[in-house]
Symmetry: C2
Subunit: 294 residues, 2 copies
Amino acid sequence: MRWTEGFIAVDWGTTNRRAYRIDQTGKCVDEFEDHKGVLTVPGGGFPVAVQEIRDRLGDHPLLLAGMVGSNRGWKEAPYVPCPAGLDELAQKLVWAGDREAIVPGVSYIGNAHADVMRGEEVQLLGAVAAGLVDPMGLVCHPGTHNKWALLRHSRIERFMTVMTGELFSLLKEHSILGDLLQSSVAVNDAFKGGVRAVAEHETLPADLFGVRAKVLLGQAKKEDAASYTSGLLIGADVRIGLSQPFGAQVTVIGRPELTSLYAAAVKEHGRETTELDGEQCFLAGIQEIAKRIS
Amino acid sequence: MRWTEGFIAVDWGTTNRRAYRIDQTGKCVDEFEDHKGVLTVPGGGFPVAVQEIRDRLGDHPLLLAGMVGSNRGWKEAPYVPCPAGLDELAQKLVWAGDREAIVPGVSYIGNAHADVMRGEEVQLLGAVAAGLVDPMGLVCHPGTHNKWALLRHSRIERFMTVMTGELFSLLKEHSILGDLLQSSVAVNDAFKGGVRAVAEHETLPADLFGVRAKVLLGQAKKEDAASYTSGLLIGADVRIGLSQPFGAQVTVIGRPELTSLYAAAVKEHGRETTELDGEQCFLAGIQEIAKRIS
């Protein structure tokens, strides 16, 4: 094994994959992204799908993270229970071949709650290792399923997933609100109004119907509906995240178009945030794990 | 006009219509139900769709309620603002023809909320007129969009719509929880557990993801997921309804398979309910409106 001579890091999710060629100095020298997510790979198709990556980025060892380690992926990598840090992840790598290792996800059970993540853990812990996040901080990772993770001594102590992104998509694509939610979402007065509407009183499933009623009754403009609804959903999400007994610095990690919405919602709650790009955090985290492969 | 000699009452919704032949004594002597909801009627197709009803039930005056009075229906019947009772509805009937009257819906604007209903108002006010509901009571009307209505002196004082039924359908048909939600919902320990989970702390969008995580981590049985999820959604709904400053008797009106779920959730909150069949309430209400046609 010659991981010290460089490797290929793959962030392989449900609908997309991103692959990065990391050289021996830790620099990313080549990369690509495509839509060959885990769900598009046919049964038994992972060796071919992996070979495609090497055809493009070279014949190097592979370190893979994300849904590729789920029961719908290449080989299941059982969840590592909280508290989990980079050491625990590296110890529990699952080997799909001699030169192909899969990073496990993280699970949490406690406080009558159960939760799982796969992929976000590399970004969260990478950001800590890179010194970008308080090792005792609170991290928000927006996406289809937003994660709120509490760190303790550089490990994920516990976390909670909020279905915000998926709920917005369901409402936009399949609900009675669909025709109102086609415009783009912006941090404007409508968005902030949505955040404030659910900040005190949690009436989200009623406020959602109110989006349509307000437009019908001339109390709101149709073009504001998407931003207002996003504000309601992200506002309820942030209220949940901040209502946990977490007092720490809040960092939002992810795609910039999402982190800006969450940062704005957190700000409406009177808290400041730091926004970090998820891709850079992934690269930091995956290299820390590679270093731990003996 | 000879409404005193009987008429046809039609509860014409988005996806279904139910028509009843009411004789001069107020008795329902014939009826039918089909799937010719408002959305299935082509542009300009209502005269034909109405003739079908008369072909089956006789050449009588028609009194129609529900989405048939919406902007996607036969003729728009503008919402009557709260407070609204049977007198207000009868005064604001919209005539689609000489012998075809449409009952308007009801709107509410206040407390930073806006809301609309169409069809439920006939059932709610019919139940009051029939002496089945406290004229100062709180009424819950489950369906795709559940309504909580506060009555004052036999009129609808204000109301709030909660998107519970539609959210459950979206999750069942299109979400990551879909495969877990295919079994039938029952009032069992899982359902009651869902109600209690959201009774104190409103973390619904997080608890929904937890449904999947709990099954993945062996903390819950897959066959309980549908009942538990229904408990979460109806529990959040009931928490909203009961958290209003309403202290009155709670009546649940609708289809028995839905009213039993809401009654059970209200009971978990320590409140008793009366359940009423929506169809009987509709017939009571629509006849009260017919009586007011001079």
